[in-house]
Symmetry: C2
Subunit: 142 residues, 2 copies
Amino acid sequence: MRAALDVAAQAAAAGEVPVGAVVVRDGAIIATGANAPRRLHDPTAHAEIQAIRAAANLLGRDRLEDCDLWVTLEPCAMCAGAIAHARIARLYYGASDPKGGAVEHGPRFFAQPTCHHRPDIYAGIGEGEAAGLLRDFFTARR
Amino acid sequence: MRAALDVAAQAAAAGEVPVGAVVVRDGAIIATGANAPRRLHDPTAHAEIQAIRAAANLLGRDRLEDCDLWVTLEPCAMCAGAIAHARIARLYYGASDPKGGAVEHGPRFFAQPTCHHRPDIYAGIGEGEAAGLLRDFFTARR
């Protein structure tokens, strides 16, 4: 999660909402993703999507059954769907997101009967620092 | 929807589940997307995501408030989330998808209080042909 938090801080420095993600395989980080929709002109460029796309491209396949995803914020519906499509084994996330999260809030995607893959889920890891990055970012922009 | 169905047929010819999408702005198609997760080694490469990313890249911004999306199949949670993030004005789709759809099934994403943008939604357009493409594809692979 340390690496994901560092990526989130880099996103903030680039003027993007600070969320960071990393994909881990066999104990090693194989891809990172920083939230960057504005900079990349890509509404799908959330940290999780960036990290998953990079990992899949690196491994040359569209399924990441042997990979874990670490992300600083509770995934939204788009990212939760991508995590299921990628068959991510374990999902570790930091801060809860009552406004846009889709794991413990709103659609509760992984609890739906139509969800075809549910990773093992570990929430609240590095939560204080992850939430602090977001709070500082939005405070500075007000 | 004719153009989206043609793109779906091309996806089938490439060995991918036949789903196609187009983004329309001011009455003109500005981007198309074919479902291609296997070919591209990208679990996020659904037709809608491909079309939205191409349109946003073309327009040089991450919001497509003045664009409509036409897609041959009911969007999944990932794609419904992307449609909301992109602020798509109108969503037109063909076949319903009881197994993976997230508009009228499962998470019913746009009906959630945490959904921050809901397009106008028109379902069942070109439904017969869209469903036929999918049926033929899966029958041929059995």
